[in-house]
């Protein structure tokens, strides 16, 4: 059973009561994140998300950390592309304590100046370590080229921006981002909604202010191809193309089309590249979306001598999709999407996250039945119509490895 309530200062509280579990999960989302960082301080949001965990209210850094641990709360404070969040999972009996600690971090963080240098140091090391993770680096570089600024920023921030961040920026972030008017607190697990609402009102009642305004999303203009030279055992091949956003009419048609193409074991990419030709270990295509955009991304990692064939096949499968989808393939993709939904119902963490996402994008929470019906209603005609309107071309392609590949033929095929 899902209950929602909007507090007078704007905070939306969503509670899903789940009787068959002992635990509870929470997600507090506030508009902000990397796209809101000033040009010269990209990554300051990452420092802020860490810093609110280093002391709040009456507790210093160690005291706060120990308070979470004493209650057995697994928690994380984080900054993403367009939001800053506090998430956690715990035994349901400890929820009041968890909410109290979260309210302290958001309302009264100490933002100790002496901790900024330590956090920066860890984040700079993470950034350097990206060079040793070719698959992740390829995705970061792909996003940098595919999305318009500032949506193309790396989730790890930028060295220059991390170095330029000081205490003043932390205070500014607290004043601008840690605000409730558009914030969402989603809770799912063995709880009673009435108890949670009362607790949230008590702890967050004094919170006020207007949430950060997110920059508007510019047009995507995919560019053709770039190569980054690194001496690695495998070549990383990644591509991105514009697609539909969440809640647009074509959304589930798009999600299903990409799923039957690129889902793990039964998708066409897995069958053609791995099962029939043994070209790779990992290959997939995914459909992702948020408030501003929808995107199809695809990945294949393979050794240099097989990279050209892999790229050609990958793009060839995208080009071949139009008009070739069978009823059986569509049915399979639907079954998988629906089964994943049912299994997600069991986990407080996935329920809290899914309800929060619904509210973030739609300002309401959909029932499982509504989502199931939307998936069930997609026809072959819808899928073909989606591909017609979003032909995966032009797309942005990036390779990372010893030598560039020839993309001319594939792009022409991919763009018919």
């Amino acid at each position: 059973m899902i209950h929602t309530k909007q507090l007078p200062m704007g905070l939306s509280v969503i509670v899903e009561e789940m009787e068959h579990v002992e635990s509870v999960a929470y997600d507090l989302l506030m508009p902000g994140g990397l796209i809101c960082d000033p040009q010269d301080m990209v990554g300051s949001s990452l420092i802020f998300a860490e810093l609110i965990g280093r002391g709040a209210g009456t507790l210093d850094s160690r005291g706060l950390s120990e308070a979470f641990d004493d209650a057995g709360i697994r928690h994380g404070e984080w900054a993403g592309t367009d939001r800053i969040g506090c998430s956690g999972s715990l035994l349901a009996t400890k929820l009041p304590r968890a909410l109290e600690l979260v309210s302290m971090m958001v309302l009264q963080p100490r933002l100790p100046e002496e901790e900024i240098e330590n956090i920066r140091s860890v984040l700079l090391q993470d950034l350097a370590a990206l060079n040793d993770n070719p698959a992740r680096r390829a995705m970061v570089e792909l996003n940098r080229r595919f999305y318009p600024a500032p949506f193309n920023r790396s989730s790890l921030g930028e060295a220059q921006g991390l170095l330029a961040t000081g205490r003043a920026r932390m205070e500014q972030l607290h004043a601008q981002v840690a605000k409730p008017s558009q914030a969402i607190l989603s809770i799912a697990g063995r709880v009673k909604a009435a108890d949670v609402f009362a607790e949230v009102e008590r702890l967050f009642g004094g919170w006020g202010g207007v949430s950060a305004e997110l920059p508007s999303f510019g047009a995507i203009s995919p560019h053709e191809y770039s190569h980054i030279e690194v001496d690695s055992a495998q070549v990383q091949i990644v591509m991105a193309a514009p697609s539909v956003k969440f809640a647009e009419p074509d959304y589930y048609a798009g999600k299903l089309a990409v799923s039957l193409l690129g889902s793990s074991m039964f998708g066409r990419l897995f069958m053609e590249l791995r099962e029939k030709r043994g070209l790779c270990y990992s290959v997939y295509a995914r459909h992702g979306s948020n408030t501003s955009y929808g995107t199809v991304t695809a990945y294949v990692g393979t050794t240099p001598e097989r990279a050209q064939e892999s790229l050609d096949l990958l793009l060839g499968e995208f080009a071949r999709l139009q008009g070739s989808v069978s009823e059986a393939e569509l049915a399979r993709a639907k079954t998988n999407l629906k089964a994943a939904l049912v299994m997600g119902e069991e986990s407080p963490g996935s329920r809290a996250a899914s309800n929060a996402t619904d509210w973030w994008l739609l300002r309401r929470v959909r029932s499982l039945q509504e989502v199931n019906e939307a998936i069930g209603a997609v026809t072959l005609e819808d899928v073909n119509g989606f591909i017609e309107r979003h032909p995966f071309s032009p797309c942005t392609i990036l390779t990372l490895g010893r030598a560039p590949l020839d993309v001319s033929a594939s792009i022409i095929r991919g763009g018919r």
């Binding site: 009787e19 635990s23 979470f68 999972s89 956090i119 990992s282 399979r332 049912v342």
Partner: protein
């Protein structure tokens, strides 16, 4: 809401375990085969893992494509993994599809090992080996583990090398299968929303005809001494170090108090290493784990940092590990709270329970209800830890590093 535990054994030796819980929205099922890298000879290196892939590549009645499509039609979240000691095949499905999933997974356990599919899949395995070559952290752990355990099989590589996998043959794999995949060396387990009676009945139907034969594994305790070494690589941006010393096995009772100790020392947050290294920005990752194996085990302590800070980070980590233990603070109770919350949260989903059920039986031939595990953890005192440390002290570390060339 704890599930109900059941156990039986078929005439051919296949152990069947179940934990039924009608409140769950799904059911999970898995075969736990007690075989892995440690059961391979040097020329077979990588065969357990390659064989795991081949179970998805066809049976006498199904092609590889049939298997993939059926998994898709069932909406199954299915996969498999191979470790040094176990090979596990598992799937989560909605309750209506449980029976069909059981039939499919059981059929996969008697693979065809088609020569053409074997040659094709070998290419995939070689790609997987190349993929891990590009992951420095993995490279260090694998090479350090091989060096630390020396001639003891616990250090065998799971993936094998390019050379060893290239040399594997279909018939060699078949011979390995015929020595290891005996029903008495396998546990079939299920958890969640399913009927136990029907599960056992179907297991008899699908697996009752499998021929039993004896399977052995030597489990000597590793007692050797290693010095450690430094590996280097070109174009490395980050540096890593791992320290190994002898630790409790999966059968040693000391594993309970020592898991509490490893949480105190090296959990990802709020541990002594966290405060000494991560909180101060000296390293971006630091942990202590007790890696419990069949009949033997090791402690590992891991640190990663910018290359110019690794020396300092490792020397601080060594100081933390060598400090006399002081339990005057709340460390002990805090670590226990963290572990208990994790046990309960991980046990809430059928897949989480499946893994603990299957693994515990594979190693210890018993099952411990969740509540009993929780009570066991809560009862641990500082004396238990001190006592366990007399057998497995945190000293004599072999140090391995991976640094830029």
């Amino acid at each position: 809401m704890p599930g109900l535990f059941h156990q039986t054994t078929l005439a051919n030796g296949l152990t069947i375990l179940g934990e039924t819980n009608s409140a769950n929205a799904s059911a999970s099922i898995g075969f736990f085969v007690k075989t892995g890298a440690r059961d391979e000879t040097p020329t077979e290196s990588g065969v357990s893992h390659f064989l795991e892939h081949m179970l998805f590549k066809g049976t006498p009645t199904r092609s590889a494509i049939d298997i993939n499509l059926q998994l898709g039609n069932l909406g199954a979240q299915a996969n498999a993994f191979t470790s040094e000691e176990n090979t596990v095949y598992y799937a989560a499905v909605i309750p209506e599809n449980f029976r069909e999933m059981q039939e499919l997974l059981s059929d996969m356990m008697r693979p065809l090992l088609d020569p053409q599919e074997f040659d094709m899949e070998k290419k995939v395995i070689l790609e997987e080996i190349a993929l891990y070559q590009d992951r420095p952290h993995f490279y260090l752990f694998e090479n350090a583990s091989m060096d630390f355990f020396g001639a003891h099989p616990a250090g065998n590589s799971v993936l094998g090398s390019h050379a060893s996998v290239s040399g594997l043959t279909r018939d060699g794999m078949k011979a390995y299968f015929d020595c290891r995949y005996s029903p008495s060396n396998i546990v079939l387990a299920a958890t969640g929303n399913f009927s136990w009676e029907r599960f056992v009945e179907d297991a008899q139907r699908f697996c009752g005809g499998w021929m039993d034969f004896p399977v052995t594994r030597d489990t000597p305790r590793y007692a050797g001494k290693s010095q450690g070494r430094t590996f280097s690589r070109k174009n490395l941006s980050h540096a890593h170090a791992v320290l190994f010393t002898l630790g409790p096995s999966a059968q040693d009772e000391e594993r309970y108090p020592l898991s509490v100790l490893s949480t105190i020392l090296g959990d990802s947050s709020g541990s002594r290493l966290y405060w000494a290294l991560i909180d101060k920005g000296l390293a971006d990752s630091a942990s202590v784990d007790s890696d419990e194996r069949d009949g033997t085990g090791c402690w590992s302590a891991y640190v990663s940092a910018a290359p110019d800070r690794l020396d300092k980070a490792v020397s601080i980590a060594r100081e933390v590990l060598a400090e006399p233990l002081d339990f005057s603070g709340a460390d002990l109770e805090r670590a226990k709270s963290k572990i208990v919350a994790r046990i309960v949260l991980d046990g809430e989903l059928p897949m989480g329970r499946l893994m603990s059920l299957g693994m515990e039986w594979s190693y210890r031939r018993r099952s411990t209800p969740l509540q009993e595990v929780v009570e066991r953890v809560l009862s641990i005192t500082h004396r238990d830890i001190e006592q366990a440390l007399t057998r497995f002290p945190l000293s004599g570390w072999a140090e391995y590093r991976l640094v830029p060339e």
